[in-house]
Symmetry: C2
Subunit: 309 residues, 2 copies
């Protein structure tokens, strides 16, 4: 039994997600200011991809994880912005005609629709490069942690992360039809960057090694819940409500096609419960309230999931 | 007067470029071994892009620069391989139908011809990610140097480096017609990665700050000479001899269209002379033989340039 369970500890106040989102957006705008030194058209495309409406969930995960371990708040915000740059770049590439061929993203024309495929691809690489450069040079963070954060993010993006997930989604989806395989693909497409966002915040703050595995498993379950909800949304929502092309997964095996909408919801709930269990099992890591903080900020309809976990 | 000029110092023996090239290729193959854990088709595309025939000039620059400052040879080879991964990724993207639309590269079908555009783009991002991850986790290199090498490479790739150069080449070439502007574009397209390759080696080895500016200027002149020679080759060579599509620059202002083949050659010679001057001006940095080493390995026809510098 951990000594942590013997007394009442006040839960931290839930963070104000709207305020956090505002801070992220403000900082992103500062990091890629209008009229920067890059070629103007490219720069505009990068800003368009990065600064459109978004939930900013990944940078918020980085900030919350860093807070839990006492990390520098300004550095955590910048690290979160680096993760968001990676996320924005991945959306630009996923939307390309040779991939998902999406016309709409976050309620607006996709980057290649607005700027052409060539500039969209270059903007994505520009955002990725800026993300790594930002992490590598973070002030007020020890050298070893900066280098490690770069390695964490590079691993999440690479051939065994987002890039690998997208390749499977495009060319090997029919070999990923069992529920466990769909979960694994969802993890690669979404979970790995959730995990990296959390881990980057923890590493930045100098979290002890034993806190990282449960944090990673928490991120995995959170990512799987989130991606499953996204699949539900893809089936159920109109493009106007979702702010992006929907019915993109028609014909692909998803957890919705395997289990139906209700079954997929239940699996998402299960993942959120498993996420909580990871944190509850390690009270010494002071993470138990993190799920409440995150779930409070999830864009869930009608509080449906909040009641269940 | 520097004390270095008062005595005879034996020049180091010229390195065996064929041997160095072989070491680089062997290490690249080890870093991205056949049958790796990534999705097979993606992995094959990454290997195809990385391991095709090539001069391996950039990794050799990294190794030579690191040697000059006493850097760990194995770490320098890995850092050079990271730079080569970036270079290979940039070639994959440059060749895409929406960019240069090239069919042939290094004597073989371009990556998108062999694997499709989607997998080619993902392979490029996979290579970039691996490059940053490799630098960030280099063994036997102090944390601060690893983080700084990441920042150096990210700056070279990003919107003010290769990506910016490609954007200008595609969309603003007509605004870069004066010789100085063409030089600047050539620097962005080629020189920045030469500079980063050299700087990464020097940083890895802990070179003092005062040695970096002349090394960067050396890299810039070397890159400009190299890109100018490439433009000459584009006009003069057949695709078979060049191993890639030629006449790609028809209609674009290049130093060849501005000055003719002879004039462009002379400008390349001038840049090589300026490169030597940078090194000779800083004998304390022990770089003066670097140009001989590099030029000895350049694929120059008939020793023409060697006589002139």
């Amino acid at each position: 039994m951990s000594t942590e369970t013997t007394g009442w500890r006040p839960a931290p106040p839930l963070p104000d997600f709207a305020q956090l989102r505002g801070q992220v957006l403000l900082r992103l705008d500062q990091l890629l200011p209008a009229g920067g030194p890059a070629p103007p058209r490219l720069h505009d495309a990068m800003r368009d991809a990065l600064l459109g409406p978004g939930k900013r969930l990944r940078p918020i995960l980085t900030v919350l994880a860093a807070r839990r371990f006492g990390g520098d708040e300004a550095a955590a915000l910048d690290a979160g912005c680096a993760v968001e740059m990676v996320h924005a770049a991945s959306l630009v590439l996923d939307d390309l005609p040779c991939m998902d061929n999406a016309l709409l993203r976050r309620g607006r024309p996709t980057t290649h629709q607005a700027f052409g495929q060539d500039t969209a691809i270059l903007a994505a690489i520009g955002l990725l490069s800026q993300a790594y450069g930002l992490l590598a040079a973070l002030p007020a963070v020890p050298d070893d942690r900066r280098a490690r954060m770069v390695a964490v993010l590079a691993g999440a993006v690479g051939a065994q992360g987002l890039v690998g997930g997208q390749e499977i989604d495009l060319h090997a989806r029919q070999q990923h039809v069992a529920p466990g395989q769909v979960d694994e693909l969802n993890h690669l497409k979404t979970g790995v960057l959730f995990v990296a966002a959390l881990e980057a915040g923890a590493v930045l703050a100098g979290a002890s090694e034993d806190c990282l595995p449960p944090l990673r498993r928490f991120g995995r379950h959170l990512g799987l819940a989130f991606q499953t909800l996204d699949d539900v949304l893809d089936v159920a929502a109109t493009a106007e409500a979702a702010g992006k092309d929907v019915q993109q997964d028609a014909g692909k095996p998803t957890l919705v096609s395997l289990f139906g909408v209700e079954g997929a919801w239940r699996r998402a709930l299960d993942h959120l419960r498993l996420a909580r269990a990871e944190l509850d099992a390690r009270p010494a890591c002071h993470l138990s309230a993190l799920l409440d903080e995150v779930v409070a900020g999830l864009p869930l309809p009608a509080g449906m999931l909040r009641r269940g976990i």
